[in-house]
Subunit: 344 residues, 2 copies
């Protein structure tokens, strides 16, 4: 099982290891005939360079670590796609770690990445408590980091955010413009983005003089395989008790889909009886029936921008940080309609 090393190649080609290294990396002049000998030896021995050794030596890794809460919400897949679209040609590869929406696991992920000496870290939708603590602060000094959709600012970190606050406001105001007053709010645990959406929700509802604690529904896991079901159940429960509710704002599309299903099971018509607003515009929001009205987060751009900010940080030796804010756009589809009460 002994693997082929640069020494084997050097012997076979009858040159020094330095020369082999040079032809492998193409960073120093090598005579053509020599190069050929080396290349032949490499091919014959099926030599594969050991990146760990190389990177140990150069003190630099070509991996970008990505931390994401889950793979079940394709939101993340779409963001990663954006990241990849930027890094594809850059020689970096992506090490994905995922936290399963669990803060302890998120810490483990960070450590894992640090030990592996990644060149930088992109954290998608980081955990609130952790950001609030200075957990990331120390790390950000050592290693370039960019956060996607995180709202507590740290000087050493770069950010790309959708302005989810404004997005939330627009969404809510749209519902209100349709005549809805009794709007409930579905969220999950712990992510920053839920907190900020909820702030806006409270603000808007209080202005309407209609904020009620019972309308804030926390389903726990917001990005898991069970999210849709959790949301459906919560909505059924809530709608039974609060028949006055005519609209639902969901913090992400998975919850929105759950809400749609919950209504269906209750025999409640969407959008005639109840309007439902999603958030994200995940690709599957077109596919469900009725198609989900939602806020587009443009995940591709989000990912692409994050990657570009990270590259910038890496290039600057982690000296500078920047913040980019993207705007959400409302995507009107089939789950929202004028409030039923208007007809009375």
């Amino acid at each position: 099982m002994k693997s082929i090393t640069i020494i084997d190649v050097a012997k076979k080609a009858q040159v020094s290891v330095a020369t082999v290294s040079r032809v492998v990396n193409g960073n120093y002049p090598v005579k053509d005939s020599t190069r050929r000998k080396v290349l032949d030896a490499i091919k014959e021995l099926k030599y594969i360079p050991n990146i760990q050794a190389r990177e140990l030596n150069t003190q630099h890794s070509s991996i970008i670590g990505i931390i994401l809460p889950s793979l079940f919400n394709t939101f993340f897949a779409e963001v990663i796609n954006g990241i990849e679209s930027f890094t594809a040609t850059s020689g970096y590869s992506l090490l994905l770690t995922y936290t399963k929406d669990n803060p302890i696991s998120e810490k483990k992920c960070m450590n894992e990445l640090l030990m592996r000496n990644v060149s930088g870290i992109i954290n998608i939708s980081p955990n609130t408590e952790k950001v609030a603590s200075d957990f990331f602060d120390q790390i950000a000094e050592r290693i370039p980091m960019v956060f996607i959709n995180s709202y507590i600012k740290r000087p050493a970190i770069s950010y790309v955010n959708n302005d989810e606050r404004i997005g939330t406001k627009i969404a809510l105001e749209y519902l209100i413009s349709l005549g809805h007053r009794n709007i409930c709010f579905i969220r999950g645990d712990r992510s920053d983005s839920y907190e900020f959406k909820q702030d806006i929700y409270e603000e808007v509802m209080k202005k309407l003089n209609n904020f009620k604690e019972e309308y804030v529904l926390n389903i726990g896991a917001g990005n898991s395989i069970e999210t849709v079901e959790l949301a459906a159940n919560k909505i059924m429960e809530t709608l039974k008790e609060h028949k006055e509710i005519t609209a639902i704002f969901s913090c992400n599309d998975l919850m929105g889909i759950g809400a749609v299903n919950g209504c269906h099971r209750l025999g409640v018509n969407v959008p005639k009886d109840v309007s439902i607003m999603g958030f994200d515009n995940v690709f599957l929001s077109h596919f469900i029936e009725p198609k989900l009205t939602t806020m587009d987060q443009n995940m591709m751009t989000l990912g692409w921008t994050a990657a570009s900010l990270l590259m910038e940080k890496i290039a600057n030796d982690n000296k500078t940080s920047r913040q980019v804010v993207l705007q959400n756009t409302l995507v009107l589809r089939d789950t929202t309609a004028p409030c039923r009460d208007l007809k009375k």
Copy 2:
């Protein structure tokens, strides 16, 4: 930016590097008071061990490489979840690479993993041509590999497969039992699993004396963000020309959902006019309306088993290979019904 090494810790704690290594790894006895000194130094300096150096030394990495075609089909996310459920406690972490359904990129992924000295590789739904060639053969000798849902057998590789052939047969026979005769078949490019499903399809249809080339629909990208749309378009096109078609078999749920949408746009009622059968039982197949009838592949078990086979291989120094076959089960939901022609 110089990072803290084991030497710094040793100096600070006034012990040798070996002692530091011992307390970090906990593999040799260390006096309590010494351990404390070292631990203090580690904490104070914020020392993080360099895994690359460790693994270079031990000639063993704690990474399992995973190759998957895409993240857009949550099939893969669900399989990874299964893998993770096995490895969570084992100290291995997962390096995900994805091929975007592209054979060249798949080769790059393999190489990337090899250079990183991963302990083993799990390849989900590998590329046909590559498997048919002996590309993987040589690699499998050097490094433990397990394939999920691949059908060309190589002695050095372990396999977990759903018996998609039998699954396909059952699905098709179910459609036939509903009276369907004009059944079309949607597939994507290149994955083994499409080939084998198509073989069965041809066999079954020929037995019915009703095999027609035009009923085999290849939409290209089978796991991409566009898959649903591609399938929808293809179905619209096909149904316009072949009004006699009363049932559609789709190689995965994404295509099945696309087929449902295509029918809707055409004003074709599912399942009254046309029955649609999915494959996989991806979690979102419950959420669409009408809910998709499909073949469950039990992705969790698939992933879990793959991980266990890989661990077995690693433990055996890659000497033994095994094959595990899982059975699919038919999940009856709302997209299939008796053939409309029966009523005539």
